[in-house]
């Protein structure tokens, strides 16, 4: 079957999910590994710069 005659089935809607999966996985890794540290840094920055 040539590329031109290949019929994209319902699975075509899965393509965006599969394409985004590596980026989402990387984002999840960064969020889990460094998320708390980033939030702590932002917290410290806010506390240091806001007039109490």
């Amino acid at each position: 079957m040539s590329t031109e005659n290949r019929k994209p089935g319902k699975g075509i809607w899965l393509a965006p999910v599969l394409l985004a999966l590596p980026i989402l996985a990387a984002m999840a890794f960064v969020a889990i590994r460094f998320g708390p540290l980033i939030v702590k840094l932002i917290n410290a920055a806010v506390k240091a710069t806001v007039v109490v």
Binding site: K7, A15, P16, L19, A20, V39, V50
Partner: protein, 285 residues
């Protein structure tokens, strides 16, 4: 081999599209601050500031023994707007030239004069009234400054000036706000390459481009979820209600292009993926 290359290009296209949308939204929030005059403060932010000032003055009035009404006649909406304008100019000067100018201040003399008359009317001697009024005016002035300028501008200014002595801060900020156009150019290039590789079949190229658009929407949605889960906004609201209002206005200006482009990408994804299926369904009939 061609398919693998196309999927790889689609993957990079998804990343470039997400980067374009996010950087465009961020640049929209920063851009007004780089223009002459700085970021104008919206009416809603000023109204929030006025409410906070009114509440604070009503709290201070019984403590220092002055009339809140008299103080509110001096601390007018125009004065707060002027302070906001000065603060916007201060940020503009730091961001564009890397030079922190004079930090805006609240002139308490006029307020002290108005309050002195109040204290005299209440039966205090002239000197005592002046001292009491100066004390109260200072307290009100500090509170007004804290509400209108919630950040420690001298410290922030010192840090940014030190940084700009070592690196060209203005250029870096201009570079960061220009990333969106680089990302857009990358999107056009990648989509063009996909179309070129699949030049014999429009449907297939639409399939890759549509999938990349859908993937970009998912990435942007994940970014929004992560931002919402990070709890930055409650953190700022807890630190300072007025800073929260100013930050909210900044985020609102970024939210409009973010949601607009995300909706466009979603629509593009749906149209492309439906279109790339249609001819086959016609053939099946």
């Amino acid at each position: 081999m061609k398919r693998v290359l196309c999927w790889l290009l689609a993957f990079f296209l998804a990343g470039a599209l997400a980067l374009f949308v996010v950087s465009f939204a961020c640049a929209r929030a920063v851009d007004p601050g780089l223009k002459e005059g700085g970021t104008p403060v919206s009416d809603s932010v000023r109204s929030t500031e006025m409410n906070l000032i009114r509440n604070r003055i009503e709290e201070l009035a019984p403590i220092y023994g002055f009339s809140a009404e008299t103080a509110m006649k001096v601390v007018t909406d125009e004065k707060i707007a002027e302070m906001n304008r000065q603060a916007a100019l201060w940020w503009n000067s730091v961001l564009v030239n890397g030079e922190a100018g004079e930090v805006p201040a609240f002139n308490a003399d006029e307020l002290a004069g108005a309050l002195t008359a109040d204290f005299v009317a209440a039966g205090a001697g002239d000197e005592e009234a002046e001292l009491l009024a100066a004390d109260a005016a200072n307290a009100v002035g500090e509170s007004v400054l804290r509400i209108v300028l919630p950040l420690r501008l001298p410290i922030v200014g010192r840090g940014l000036t030190e940084a700009s002595a070592r690196v060209d801060l203005g250029n870096i900020i201009r570079f960061l706000t220009g990333i969106r156009w680089a990302a857009l150019a990358m999107c056009v290039l990648l989509a063009g390459l996909i179309a070129l590789l699949e030049s014999r079949d429009l449907r297939m190229s639409l399939r890759y481009i549509g999938s990349a658009m859908g993937a970009a929407v998912l990435v942007i949605a994940a970014c929004l979820v992560l931002y919402a889960r990070s709890g930055i906004e409650p953190l700022i609201a807890e630190a300072s209600p007025s800073l929260s209002a100013q930050y909210g206005a900044l985020m609102n200006s970024a939210a409009v292009p973010l949601f607009l482009f995300t909706a466009l990408l979603l629509a593009g994804c749906i149209v492309c993926l439906i279109f790339c299926r249609r001819p086959h369904e016609a053939k099946a009939d």
